[in-house]
């Protein structure tokens, strides 16, 4: 785990945001970019981690934590930029998270393995942003770039709610994060 790991910045029960992806693979960078956007906004009551790797490491990262939010690219055939929010229960993930990105063991597989081995956090929420392209060297597609702010805002709100730090009145639900 990196220096920005959840246990490195505060109590292990802080809500944790994990951005997955590869910043050199077009829309695969979306999880990382959302994580970077969220980091300064949850300082002191939430932790943020970027993992550009295969997802088996997630089991070690999230085991024993309270709320964990993971942001990743997804390809389910919906329009690029579409945002999916899934609260993980006992069912396998229905979307092919990571299947067409470069993670060796995909997020969906890591969730299934975590369910089987009972190595999930208390609450696991996944945000998937529908991707257009994973080609190396490509910049983010317009649709995915446009989705980042909205996802970051929703993730921030969930962290605030869980940490008992409701957003200041002038920011709640507003567009001021843009």
């Amino acid at each position: 785990m990196g220096p920005e790991g959840p246990r490195g910045v505060g109590p292990g029960r802080f809500p944790l945001v994990i951005g997955l992806g590869n910043e050199h693979r077009g829309d695969d960078a979306v999880g990382l970019l959302v994580a970077r956007r969220v980091r300064p906004r949850v300082e002191g009551f939430g932790s943020v981690l970027e993992l550009p790797n295969e997802a088996t490491g997630l089991l070690d990262v999230w085991s024993g934590l309270g709320l964990v939010l993971v942001v990743d690219a997804v390809t389910s055939g919906r329009a690029p930029g579409t945002v999916h929010r899934i609260e993980v229960g006992s069912e396998p993930l229905a979307l092919p998270f990571g299947m067409t990105s470069t993670h060796g063991f995909s997020l969906a597989e890591a969730v299934s393995l975590g369910q089987t081995l009972r190595r999930l956090p208390d609450r696991l929420v996944i945000y998937g942003v529908e991707a257009a392209s994973f080609l190396p060297g490509r910049s983010l597609s317009r649709e995915v770039a446009a989705a980042i702010d909205g996802v970051a805002q929703r993730v921030e709100q969930e962290v605030r709610r869980a940490a008992g730090r409701e957003p200041p009145g002038d920011r709640a639900g507003g567009p001021s994060h843009a």
Binding site: M1, G2, P3, N22, E23, H24, R25, L51, P52, N53, E54, T56, G57, L59, D60, M99, T100, T102, H103, G104, F105, E109, S112, L113, T116, L117, F134, L135, P136, G137
Partner: protein
Amino acid sequence: MTDRTIAVDYLARVEGEGALRVRIHDRKVEEVELKIFEPPRFFEAFLRGRSYLEAPDITARICGICPVAYQMSSCHAMESAYGLRVAPAVRALRRLLYCGEWIESHALHIYLLHAPDFLGYPDAIRLAKDHPKVVQQGLQLKKVGNALMTLLGGREIHPVNVRVGGFYRCPSREETDGLRESVETALTLSQETARFVAGLDFPKVEEDYEFVSLRHPEEYPMNEGEVVSSRGLRIPVSRYEAEFEEIHVPYANALQSVRKGGGSYLVGPLARYALNRDRLGRKADAIAREVGLEPVVRNPYRSIIVRAVEMVEACDEALRILREYRPPEHPYVEAKGAPDNTRCMAATEAPRGLLYHRYRLGAGGLIEDAKIVAPTSQNQKRIEDDLRDVVGRFLDMDDAHLTSECERAVRNHDPCISCATHFLKLDLVRN
């Protein structure tokens, strides 16, 4: 006369994705095409105009599974350009970092990607339902590898602490001592792993591989050595491109490596072990003997045992380094001067095999040209050769089972598709 094509759009349990097309005509295998899309090509272009100091960080991003290998090959290349010699303690720490990557990568492949093939499960999740302890053991080993990478790399994924000339910061003795107990446990688990995988059932296959790896005068090779082959080649790394070339294949958006004037060759654990069996440490040597591992393994399915033996070697070597470690006076040596128009190269042993980097540096140490040859690109043609044999052996199988056997044959070599390809799609055509 019948034609048969088999296509697999997504090759499960291979790092990343890729595509494969097999065409059978009149019960003969006519074509086997592994389709490759290569991120290293993008990174080669991305490196141009960057400082030599940036190469380790940039190339580490080529692969999420083996970032250390890319860092090490680029560091060694740049250090040769500037005539830098790192302190013995820094050299040892680099080897320790590489041990971490080998443990992490081999544990992932053995337990989560390869073992399901032998135990009759479609994937590690189904395996974990019936044998949770087996999968937990793999995850525990992988975690120890990650811990070593975190200690030395700053973080396990895309480590940020490695630099040309050494490390930005070297760990204290207290920090290294803190890992000894978990590495000791990992050594025991690795030995158990070797015993476990040696008891699996293996298809009886022998392939005529030309093995290629580094060979060091004293050590099992990781960071340094000459390039040797099982057919008598022995050259310094500087002559790599005189003996090996990359050719363009029309069906793939990539280059394939071959021996000049020759054919395919194999890099990776089978090659390293065959060419360096006598360089294994005492514990790895003992476990190889105990489980009856032949000195040269030509059965690709048995690569799972070789990986386990290499994991024992990496744990044992990590323990030795941790025991002997004394922090160096300076974590890195700085380059002096600027070598204009210098060509430099290096090769190290990534978990999946030899990884070659070559750079041309211009004024101020700016990279003018870069060439990166990943292990999977080198093995690509050899994997196609293995697949020809597999399809030939199982011609009478239905498409679903034949496809499954093809996938298994690819997985034997643990191709890091995220290094070398984006989509692996299997297309099997029977005519």
